[in-house]
Amino acid sequence: MPQASPRGGDAIDRRNLDWYIDKGVQVLVFIGGVSGILFVISIFVFITKEGLGFLTEQFSIGEFFGSPRWAPTSSHNPTYGALALIAGTASVTGLAMVIAVPFSLGAAIFIGEFATGKPREYLKVLVELLAAIPSVVWGFIGLSIMNPLIIKLFNVPVGLNVLNSGFILGLMAAPIMTTIAEDALKAVPDTYREAAEALGATRWQVILRVVIPAAKPGLLAAVLLGVGRGFGETMAVLMASGHSINLPTSVFDSVRALTATIAAELGETAVGSDHYRALFTLGIFLFVVTFVINLTADLVVRGIRRK
């Protein structure tokens, strides 16, 4: 017991209900804090463990990345070429970005720089509401509305293709990109804008020459997170892409995404079979790609903060 302030020390050290609540909350918050790390590590350990047998035994880099023939259930010649699946994911995500980047950057610039008052608040809420639409609903829109529309508009045999899923995915990735891009624009100090306006720049010149260059890393992070979103999306892509093993040569080709392949095939695969382990290998590949994308985005954002 410290003698200097016996009353104070007594109050602090008394183990009453509040003290226990305090300790309890501390422990809970600590568990919450480290659980994120634990989950990521255990997920990675799990998918690696399940896919490892394939990686060490059957896996051939040439076949995996070089062959489009994904035929894991073939009785006499099973092959595990993921090239068509990777091309499918890449083409859909690529088109989604072509659609979403101008759309969401435009929206962010309008919300952040032009809109004021009530319309601005409404717009922000509406854009975030877009993110709340479940992906299966997006997929349903792709299947039942976009499919006949694309067939009619472009006179193509089938409307479940890169264009359909890319468009849907673009709309799905736009809200998160808009929100982050707007934050990045807002982080640009007003003194920059005031200085530019004092020099006689028009509003557009201020945005194009001053605000956007200053916010570039944040905008890049927004785009990267959108790409990560696109890579990981499953249900909507499964429903809208046509789910067809195909190296796409135009936006009207049906494709199949990595995520959709895992979703469609894992449920009925015998646990521990080559097919099962090959699907986990696809999972490892996806995990690594999205991890690198998110890490890059994070580093880019950190770059801005340090400045």
Partner: protein, 293 residues
Amino acid sequence: MRNRLALGVVVLLVLACGRPSGERGGRALIQNKGSDTLVNVAQAWAEAYKEVNPNVGIAVTGGGSGTGISAMINGTVDLANASRKMKDKELEAARANGIEPVEFVVGFDALAVFVHPDNPVEGFTRAQLAEIYGEGGSVEGWDQLGLAIPGCDSNEIVRVSRQNNSGTYVYFQEAVLGKERDFKLGSRDMHGSKDVVDLVENTPCAIGYSGLAYANEHVKMPCVSTSDNGTCVFPSSETAIDGSYPIARPLLMYSAGQPQGIVKVYLDWILSDAAQCIIQDKGYAPVRAVSCG
């Protein structure tokens, strides 16, 4: 899903204590395992049987025909569901364990070929279907079959198929392509029979296949013949039952030895009109024509 299944299996093992048809608290339990094609029907039967005989519980697990058959060989199930016949090797293995599996046909699975209603096609031969769907197959355009389809300017045959481990996919492969031939890549692999029909319905260039019961009035079902001069048979419950439709298979249940007691009563009930209406309701053909309310 898989975890739940695994948990279910564990629970069942604990319940059964490694012995089939145990008595637990006055309630008898029948172990029923196997084919994923049949699992929905088997579950519906088990559910409905609760009303018929509340004293008998049916524990249904899927896992595939192979899983059910190995459980039968090991003597851990009363009834094994299978969408294929037991192989000779498997029968021998069962006999070696003192089990004589007895086969019962509990329904039929007829796979209809679907095209868009605007498609003028009358019928397909099995060889034509194999050339359309099979790896290395030569038929890519409808004009190769002498057809021009209104609304399908590109002439491309849009192949609609199923994901590669569905029972329907495997059976279509066996019955149409032959066991040694794979599917041509680039088909639209839908995740359910209903999706196949929906896509064909909206796509003039498309061809697809699915269980007969998934058909609706917006798609056309051409007849299928086994050879160029064979008769072309339309899919129906009747042609599936009499075996004249070439892409139909029996759905089977194996019992360990001649069924006795509660297992016999359950099997008899499965072949009754009430239970056969359930299998028809689930999209398969019953063993005989039944009239359901």
